[in-house]
Symmetry: C2
Subunit: 271 residues, 2 copies
Amino acid sequence: MTENQYYEQEATASEFLEWYKTQDIKKYEKPSVTIDNVIFAFDKKENQLKLLLIKRAAHPFKDKYALPGGFINPNEDAKEAAKRETFEETNVKIESENQMWQIGAFSTPFRDPRGWTITIAHTTFLYPFVDPKAGDDASACEWVSIIPAENKKQLPYFMTQDKKIIHLDQDLAFDHAQIIKTTFKRIKSSLTFNADVAKVLGPTFTSNQLKKLFFYFDPKFNETYNPSNIVTTYVKRLEIFQKVGQITINEQSSGRPKTLFSFNPEQENNV
Amino acid sequence: MTENQYYEQEATASEFLEWYKTQDIKKYEKPSVTIDNVIFAFDKKENQLKLLLIKRAAHPFKDKYALPGGFINPNEDAKEAAKRETFEETNVKIESENQMWQIGAFSTPFRDPRGWTITIAHTTFLYPFVDPKAGDDASACEWVSIIPAENKKQLPYFMTQDKKIIHLDQDLAFDHAQIIKTTFKRIKSSLTFNADVAKVLGPTFTSNQLKKLFFYFDPKFNETYNPSNIVTTYVKRLEIFQKVGQITINEQSSGRPKTLFSFNPEQENNV
DNA sequence: CTAATAGTGTCTATTAGACAATATCCG
DNA sequence: CGGATATTGTCTAATAGACACTATTAG
């Protein structure tokens, strides 16, 4: 019996681990592992949903837009890494990990021309909306407006603050277009039982805000859709939201006061 | 301007990549990246759904059950790795990647006591059902019967061929219990619009087989559930399945012949 | 024919979606 | 009061689920 076999099969678990640390293990080649973050926030001034993109300062994909992201560190899990990297690259602080979902790992060979890199994509429903500040890797960092798809065949696209259009299939670095598309799909298909995306609206929101927000992900929430149906579905049936007694007086020009909703604290995340 | 800055910002993309390859890049510490595979198959002899588990031959988690899996290689994506490792460890060959889903990355620190390891979990809807053969890392490798949860509060559990019970929270190595739970949840929540899991049934299947299969993931498909409702939902409305004219004559003892269904080839995967 | 099994049609409850009617506020 | 805005109630269509009834086959 080899020493190896002895420790793997005969020794106790703790003896094995003691021995294992002393071994110079034959190293497999390892990939770099990064995280990327598809960050949504709602700009109340302009009354629209925005996505946080970086403009790359350096090769590869110099001058293309990209998602904030970076390397994962030992002793942190992917979500922590996504929080940390988002802050380092954009100065945007994510308060809670339950504003984040993992979308999945993207591992297509050669997705990064520099070498073997796997990314774990996340999405974040940020609140409050804050101005970003570009870190080292970016020449710029900005909230881009999302132009929602008008029907099922179309894709959303984006517009920078100086009105430049960003198309998913042309203007993004790496496979970030695919990551963004997967994120939109995932949010849409979970809207039937989950509304975490509403976290971008902050602690309270109205049914009309929800409708407007959901429209970015699913064209069925269009002009003809009655916001009261959101109440029926998400408040009465699913009980994801609850009415909070308050009613705003006069932030609007006139009209019946809005009802405010918040997340129902009894609900848990499920994605 | 440093050389670094020149190549990152002034040179062309291909000049940059040429230069990059010659550099001895400061290495970040990298994790090992593995894949794991939650493999389902339907055993027609015993008329039940089974899950493929390995019994670990070596520390850590010696003698615990684990999912087939292993290291991802350069120049392959995660799904290819999952196919390759499944074959190496269990001799089970997965024919097509559209029998597989990615479940997600699991990256909790110290999930592997030997060191920093991130896994990308997959699930596979295998067909045909074949006998496995344990590879090196396993003392055994077997199809375990799945005992479905009877209501929403319960978890499924498993039974080995010699009737030993495997509980998710006690008998599995690493975080594989969590991976399996996440997989069951994911399949269940996508059953409203997707039925890829039916790929375990092979090219054709009956509505009763579908009902029995779905019950493993959602207790609503219980004895009182009428299989004709599956036809209404998945054939008529979603058009995921189609009737294939054939009707089996006499594989059953008596009774009206079954209608056979297959996947509708116009449909694409969407998860 | 009878037992066994599968499929059909129908009925009810729930859910989704649209729209008319009503409520509230501002000036 | 009248215009603006929001919510409520109701109506219809779509969907989910249950169950009685009918169809087919073996023996």
